[in-house]
Structure formats: C-alpha cells, structure tokens
Symmetry: none
Subunit: 414 residues, 2 copies
C-alpha cells in the first residue's frame, strides 16, 4: 500500500467509439468517481474491437499504470473480445464459472425468456480473476492482478459500468492506495439568470484565493463550480460549506440545488415538507412536466396526475376553458391561469400548474417560437408568467418544463 | 503515396477531459469526417496538460501511425503545452512567425480589444511546420512531418478544430493516401428481442464475407450495424441496400427504423400515412409517452392529447374505470385496456393507448418492479400485453415508453 498518487488509466473498447457513432460517456463518470477518492485519471485510450489491438493496449497501459480500468467488450457477441484479450495479454486461460452461468440463466428466467447459448460465453473469465457479478444485465466484470497492476474490466453499458465501479472497483483501489491531498468540487445550481449575470453577482467572492470558481451553462441552468484543495476531505469540505453559504447569500432564490440534484427532486422535497399535492395541465410540454415530477421515487404521495391538452378542442372539452378565453389566443397568461385553476379542481389538488406555449418551429397566432406562459393556482392565489426562450423545439420544451417546475418551487419557498 | 489503409490516430489533450468536467466531442467529429474519406481512426489517447505526458504520447503514437491528429493545448495560457511538446518530442525549436503575430493582433483589433502579450505565445510554431491560420479564434494549427508520419496539431475548440480538419488536414491526408476502398456503416434498429436473440436470428447472414456485423444495445433497442467495404461509395451502398433487405426479411416487424430514426418519428410517419389520430392515458410513465409523441414537429395534426392518471382516484374519476376492475389490481392488462378505451373516447381519437405498471423501486400488489401493462384500442379491436423490464425506476419508465410507442407501431403496420 503506497501513499504516492497511483497512475490510473482507462481503456475504452469499441468500434462504435472510433467510428463516431457513439460518444463515450463512461470516462467522465469514472473520472468524477475517482476524483472523489482524491485520485485522478492520468491517461485514457480508445481502441476498436480487435483482439491484437486490445491486448496490445492492455499490455502497454499495464506497463505504466498502477490501476487500469477497461470498459466495453464484455457482451455475448462475436465482437466482444475483452475477455480473450486479457487472457492473451497475460497468458491466463479463460475458465468456465459455473456460478456465473447460473446467474446469467437466472437473469433470463426472471424475464421469462430463454437464454441463447451465446450468452454462456459471458461465464468464461480469465484464470485467477475476481469475478464481479452482473449489475442489472448479463455481463459480469472482473478484477485481475498482473505484476503489481490492478486491472478491472467492466461492461460498456453506463448503468452497469457505474454500479460495478462504485461498489467493486473503487473500494478495491482504496484498499491499495492512500490519498494525501484532497480536491473537492461542488456545483451550486441556479435557474433564472444568465451566465454573465451570475458571474457578475459573484465577482467579489471569486477573488478568494482558497476557492477557485468556474461557470457552466446547461439548458438554462447555470452551474457555479467551486473547488477547494486541502490535506483532508473534511477540511476541503469545511471551506466549501462556508463558500456555499456566501454564494447562496449573494444569489438568493436563484439557487435551487447543489451537485447532482434535479429541479424535480428539489420540488419534490418541498411538496413533501409543505404537505401539498399537485396536478399539471400541459400543452406545448405535452407531459414532460408530469413525467419529470414522476421521475422522483415516492412521487405518488403528492402527485395526483395531469392532462395533456394538446389540441384546442381538448382545452375546452377536458379543462372547460371557455371559447371566449381561447378565442383571445391559446398561448396567453390567461389560458395558462385557466388551465392551472381547472386542473387543480379536476384532480382536487392543493396546487395546479398550467403551461402553454409555442415550441416551434412555427409561430402561433403572432407569438414567436419559444414563447411560454406558465400559470400557477395555489390555495390562496393564481399567478402567471410569460417568458421567451431561445433554441429549437425540444430545447425550448425542456427549458420550459424546468421553468414550470421552478415556478412551483418559488411559490413553495415564498 | 500508398494505397493501404493508413493508421490514423487521435491525441486529445486537456486536464478537463480527464477530470470528467468536459466530455470530448471532437473524436466523434474527426471520426465521421475521416470515415467519409474511406479511412478510419484506429486509436485515440487522452492525456492531461503536462509536457512529458504529451511529448511521450506523441512519440509513441507516431511510432505506430501514418497520421496523427492532436486536439487542444494550443491556447495562450500556461497550461497550453502542445507546441512545446511537439518541439521537445522531435527536437525542433519553436520559431516566431511574424505573419502569425500579425493575424492574431488583427483578430483583437477587429473586436476593438487590445491583445495581451500572452497571446504572442501562439505565434511560435515548431521549425519546418506548415502553419494553419487561425479559424475564427486566435489559435493557429500546424502540420509537421516526422519519419514518414504526418502530425496535425489542431485547437480544442470544436468549431475551430472542425474548420481546420475539413479545410486543411483532410485534403493533406488525401494527397498522401489514396483510398482504394470505402467503408460504409448502417444501423438497423430493432425493438422487442434481446441482443443474443437478434444475433442468433442473423447468424447465417453474418457469415457473408462482404458485410461485417456488429450489435449494440441501448435502452431496450438493439442496433444491428452492418458495414461494407468496396471500391466506391456507391458500390458499398448497393451492398448495404441488399443486406438491409435480408436483415429486414430475417427480423420482420422487430425492425423499426434505420440509423438516427427515433421510435416516435417512425410512429409519427405511420400515423400520418394511415391518417389516424391518437390519445394516451399514462400511469407509471406519467406523461413520457405523450411528451415523446410531441417531440416530433407537426405532431399536433395527429396527437389529440392525454391524461396522466397517476393516482387510483384519478383512474376512476377521470377515466371512469370501475371500482370493480380497479379492485382486481391497478397493474393489469384489464386496467390498461380500460385506460386505452376510455382515453380514446374522451379525446375522440382513432387510437387510444393505456399504460400502467410498476416503475419501482417497490412492488405494487405483488407485481414486481419492472412489470408493465400496455393496452391499445383501435377502431376495430382492443389488445393488451404484459411485459417485464429489468433496471431502475427511470430506466424502466423509458423502456416502457418505447414499448408503448412500439405497440402503436405494430398495430399500424399489421
């Protein structure tokens, strides 16, 4: 066990990555998870599905690495060659593992499907490897040791890869290597102002020598990244806790969450805390707001349901909005308020949300693409907003659904 | 000038890529552009901003490559080290290029800004390199020759990188290497069977020497990738057209599309072609199916709308499903059929879809997480299916929404 930074490298395997058909997202996941342990990735290589190329890359990377993580090539088909390449590179024959064959067979059984014989290929693992059982699919991973290097071979499917990385690989790395300085990064999530406005509001804070600042815009959300380096995780965390407080003070209700939190998770917590139920009437977003509320496990305790009144007819027949109101324009604050009030009544919820707008690419009734009206009916009042977002049809719909969730959040914290 | 496939590799430079803060998109751009010339990328390496690491990677990749393209590390700051690394790796001093200094100064002038002295760093280029003038920014690229390998160093900014790649690098590669064969790839998209089943059904076809097969699983969709290599693009295309026909024949209705097509686009085309309207009643997917239908521009002509009856109460009050049916279990084919029939009537559409299930993580009424029931009401008949998908809550919901759209597709092509 050493306390010098280990050389950690990643080998990404798959023709689809070198043909440009698929963009690899695993490197970023691995880098972030490894970063949290205080270590970092020194090198990454992408290689196609050919035995000699994979075996060569494994041999070369092993020569310079303390830890090598490979992703991909563990499926059941003929172009899945990682098992064979490891076997070839280290001269360790593949051994049939009865217990794995059983797990794979059980997986198919649980889905009521028959296993095809090809899948048994996945039960062959290089000699003396430590097996990582399949994580939600049929592909097992494995960890092998060769001349002081730890090699972890994981499937390419991001979900399965991540599960094995967190549960099996990182604990194993921590057993072997101890970290001496920790850099921690935190993302403070904001919605409702632009990147340069946010940067401007934090100008004085960003002069702090202990903390470095970065900004990242993503679908209307501006992420303020603050990083601190210290001798212990706790010390770095303490610096960031203090800095986060200052950022929150400077930005007020623009801040909705931290790190991986989604807007729907934040809204969910607030609805639970305030003991309020909600229902949603959508036009342009067409179910996206409802679907995002239901993303959160346990949402059935506050989410009553919703309607997607995509056609004008259905706004009248289902929500009972009068011809008169609709004739003045379907994309209006008036209609959004009527949608909110009506859906609240239909589902007998505490809060009703209405959203209507022009997703594009064409204008509707002289309203430009990107125009969105949001209405909110609470037990006390009815509010509405009209906003315009730039971007193409589905970008506008996604930002509009975030804005709608944000409107619910603002009403719950006020 | 050879007519053997050149070994082309890519070196991606930048700490931000190895920390997981940024996902590299340049590899995919380069791979696609190189792919169109008939060549392909054999290997890709990512390395951080350190001189020795970059120089080493350049030396090693040059040893095995005919062409090496590097991206990143050409900016004006102290962590931009590609120029120095190339100089170090090949023993070629950096030379100040008057004409480049002038171009960079002019760039700032055109923005009405003063150039900071740091930017002059970008006017130093390794001896005997061919300069590529800045493309929209201040970073010049360059091409250098070393022991038969062509090395092109491009900036990391995607827009600038792409412009230099297309206008300067690819023409240079074409001068040196003649493509005697073109390789084209097509993805045939299937839904409804597993990867190994699909591979098994295509076993005989996959023996064809002219066409190579690959398989890729993504959220329940199995992509069959067929590639053909021929002396001309047209010839390769003709081979794939023939092969696609055979694949379609072997897989029948499992095939839903080709290349970038989404399930909702396919369903959309079929609804338009058959002149049918649709409405949707959702429980576990909670608006996801509706939202996906509305992803397609022009959907208002066939999509009437939907309801999200997330609570049991709303299944009764809004859809009018009897207490008796609901008391036998909310996740059942019977309820899915009742949802489909009712929503079809409420929205007066030709087709009604109902979907209810257990997204998870908990079971409902003894039904395991991942159990989904889909009901479809057409003018002629009412169908239903019960399926079980593995995976976490939102993975199940996404696959279930694809399965629901697929059910619509199957009813429209039968």
């Amino acid at each position: 066990m050493g306390n010098v930074q280990p050389f950690i490298s990643v080998l990404t395997i798959g023709d689809e990555l070198l043909s440009g058909d698929v963009t690899d997202l695993n490197l970023s996941t691995i880098a972030k998870a490894i970063g949290e342990t205080g270590f970092d990735i020194k090198k990454q290589v992408t290689i196609g599905d050919n035995l000699a190329g994979i075996a060569n890359s494994i041999t070369n990377l092993c020569g310079e690495s303390d830890v090598l993580i490979t992703t991909g090539g563990l499926g059941p088909t003929s172009d899945d060659l990682t098992r064979e390449a490891v076997s070839f590179a280290f001269g360790r024959p593949l051994v049939f593992r009865e217990e794995l064959a059983k797990l794979i067979e059980d997986f198919f059984g649980s889905l009521g499907r028959n296993m095809s014989p090809e899948n048994l290929k996945q039960a062959y693992i290089p000699e003396e490897a430590k097996v990582i059982p399949p994580a939600g699919g049929t592909a097992p991973g494995f960890i092998i040791e060769h001349e002081g290097t730890m090699i972890a071979c994981l499937p390419g499917v991001p979900r399965e890869m991540k599960s094995m990385l967190i549960n099996n690989v990182i604990p194993e790395i921590k057993k072997r290597h101890v970290c001496s300085s920790f850099k921690i990064t935190r993302e403070i999530l904001t919605f409702g102002a632009g990147e340069s406005d946010i940067a401007n509001m934090l100008k004085t804070l960003a002069c702090n020598q202990e903390v470095s600042y970065g900004f990242l815009a993503w679908e209307g959300i501006i992420k303020v990244k603050i990083s601190a380096e210290a001798r212990s995780k706790e010390e770095a965390q303490r610096i960031l806790d203090l800095e986060e407080m200052k950022v929150r003070e400077a930005l007020g209700p623009l801040v909705f969450g931290v790190d991986g939190e989604s807007m729907e998770e934040v809204v969910s917590k607030l609805l639970l805390k305030r003991d309020k139920t909600i229902s949603v009437a959508e036009s342009c977003t067409a179910g996206m707001v409802s679907s995002r509320i239901a993303n959160v496990s346990g949402s059935s305790s506050y989410f009553k349901g919703g309607v997607v009144t995509y056609s004008i007819d259905s706004k009248r027949s289902i929500l009972g909005i009068s011809r008169e109101i609709l004739s003045r324009g379907v994309v209006s604050k008036e209609v959004a308020e009527a949608m909110a009030t009506s859906v609240k009544k239909i589902f007998d919820s505490d809060i009703g949300l209405g959203i209507t707008g022009v997703a594009g690419p064409k204008s509707i009734e002289n309203k430009a693409p990107g125009t969105i009206c949001i209405g909110l009916a609470t037990p006390e009042e009815v509010f509405s907003w009209e906003i315009r977002f730039p971007g193409d049809r589905n970008f506008v719909r996604r930002i509009a659904s975030t804005a709608a969730l944000n409107a619910i959040r603002l009403s719950l914290i006020s």
